[in-house]
Amino acid sequence: MSDILARIGHLPDDAAVKFLTSAVLEQREPLPMAAVDRASQPGPWEAEPVRQLLDEAMKRFEPESRTAADAWLAPLLHATLRLTRREAADSRIWNHLALRLAPDYVFWRHPGRPPTPAVNRARFSGPFYSQTFSRLWWAAELFRNGPDYGPVVVACGNQDVLNTVLRLEVILHRPTAQAILRLLSTGAVRTGREVNALAQAVNTAGSTLAYEALAPDAVQDADSYRDWIEDLGNVLVPYDSLPDGPTDGRVPEHAVEALVPLFERLFAEAPVRGRPEQQETIE
């Protein structure tokens, strides 16, 4: 076995779980790379650009400010590892990234907190919103505004967006996601508690209000997305400025604007921990 990996491939969940013993998660033992290789299937994605990107992230950010690496890395990971949603929904690719290509990054970004020195297993292999790399990739995919990764930087600059908002089903409607981020970037919503309160309020109201009817989205153009994937060979993804995302259509601005005042109102009426209780919430 060579330690240099040419391609990112697939490592099944059950195999990944077997390798993630307590000793490995506590870094008392290394991952058995030869066995990981035997359990993996090859894939088409070039490993080297992703590996370089992760090395660069660890160089740019001190361990104390590692959470700040998320906002830098998310757009670049999405633009470097170009996948369809269909491909990205397959957890095996994320297992392979974490266990084979870059376990060091997982240990660096998500060290255990004393008194438990172990890394949470889900950071290697777990739900899309927990796994080290899939959470960033999906955050970029779900929060970008067409080719513009700007909103992704806002989203990933706030750990509560990544930990809470990312897993809410309402944000699959792009204007809803953009409107939430709009409140964050204008400063109407600042702290983690406020983000959580806003997200819960939007989510709860979303069970009786159809945001999709109030703010219709445009269809995302799957063919343009394909073109963008195929274009990867022709571009160098820049590290010091935002890369260009897929030109599959921006979120209609009037749709975002239709939701912003509604969300401001929901937020004003929402209970925020640490904020004095206001009048009762509208249903």
């Binding site: 929904a89 995919e141 089903e169 069970s207 159809a210 999709e212 009817a213 799957a222 394909r226």
Partner: protein
């Protein structure tokens, strides 16, 4: 499920039907669409390289009720979603006449992996509030990208076995029981005891005179199945937030939680169940589970499907 909401919703049923499916603009053979099971089987297609599917859908609502209700500015949406690929799209349907809408829903293959769920929703202004959901289709359609025949995967695997038989030592402790459920692994299995006198004869009977007894028995078996599946699905590792377990466990939870805690959102209902398990506050929970399992078991459609499963299994292994 009808929830209690602070505004008037439609009482009658909203129904959705897929009338045609076209793949990259070629019409699909009719057997790829199962109206009875509400499934479109796209994987059955012999072409590997298709990119998109277009489904012609029609939604129907109780016409009279719509005319008499307080709703204005009504519109109808078809939503197509798959949680695994984080994809959800809404298509506005055309008004065709009183109580009827239709349109084309586009499914991009790159955006889906296993199964997409197709739902109809009626939206209206109620009071001064626009955008209210006033009706949702009771039964959703499944667009299946992975199975080869159009069947819903929620059916439980059923096996007739003599519980006293040497080949099944794990069933020996239950050899005097008519049935048992194994709820571990990828797929739960219902074992029916062929050594239990009269059970098979009754369940496989097609005679009209046996029907009341057969249905009652099937409902009882189904109640047990749902209860066991629910309890098995709620075991969770400790964590801050309860997680949806995926697979059959998740579909069991999603079906039963609304009957357990009708006023909660699915996420809140799940959190409630997990927390009650943890704190040992389970007595009231068991009562609720029994109620929800009974409801699942008695729903005419579920019971009908379940009976069909039992009878088919009986025939296959004879």
């Amino acid at each position: 499920m009808k929830r209690l909401l602070p505004y008037q919703t439609v009482v009658g049923d909203l129904s959705l039907e897929v009338r045609e499916a076209r793949l990259d603009d070629i019409a699909l053979p009719y057997e790829m669409i199962s109206t009875a099971q509400r499934v479109v089987a796209l994987h059955r297609i012999e072409r590997d390289e298709w990119r998109s599917a277009r489904l012609s859908v029609r939604v129907r609502a109780p016409e009279q009720e719509l005319q008499q209700g307080p709703w204005t500015g009504m519109e109808c949406l078809a939503t197509l979603s798959e949680r695994r690929t984080n994809t959800r799209t809404a298509t506005r349907l055309r008004w065709e006449g009183p109580g009827e809408w239709s349109g084309e829903v586009e499914l991009q293959r790159d955006h889906h992996l296993e199964r997409a769920e197709l739902l109809g929703q009626l939206i209206a202004t109620v009071g001064d509030v626009p955008g209210r959901v006033i009706a949702t289709t009771e039964a959703s359609w499944t667009v299946d990208l992975q199975s080869r025949t159009p069947t819903r995967r929620e059916e439980i695997r059923t096996r007739w076995v003599d519980f006293g038989d040497e080949d099944h030592p794990q069933l020996h402790p239950f050899k005097n029981d008519p049935w048992t459920v194994e709820a571990v692994g990828q797929e739960p299995v219902l074992y029916l005891n062929s050594g239990f006198e009269g059970l098979k004869a009754l369940l496989a009977s097609g005679r009209a005179i046996d029907r009341p007894a057969r249905d009652a028995l099937a409902a009882q078996i189904a109640t047990d199945v749902w209860t066991v599946l629910f309890n098995a699905a709620t075991y969770q590792e400790d964590g801050d937030t309860p997680e949806w377990p995926g697979g059959w466990r998740e579909s069991v939870l999603r079906r039963m939680l609304p009957d357990l805690f009708p006023t909660h959102s699915p996420d809140d209902a799940l959190a409630e169940v997990v927390s009650r398990h943890r704190t040992g506050d389970g007595a009231d929970l068991q009562t609720r589970i029994l109620h929800a399992a009974g409801k699942q078991a008695r729903r005419p459609r579920n019971l009908g499907n379940f009976m069909r499963t039992l009878r088919r299994t009986g025939q296959e292994e004879e």
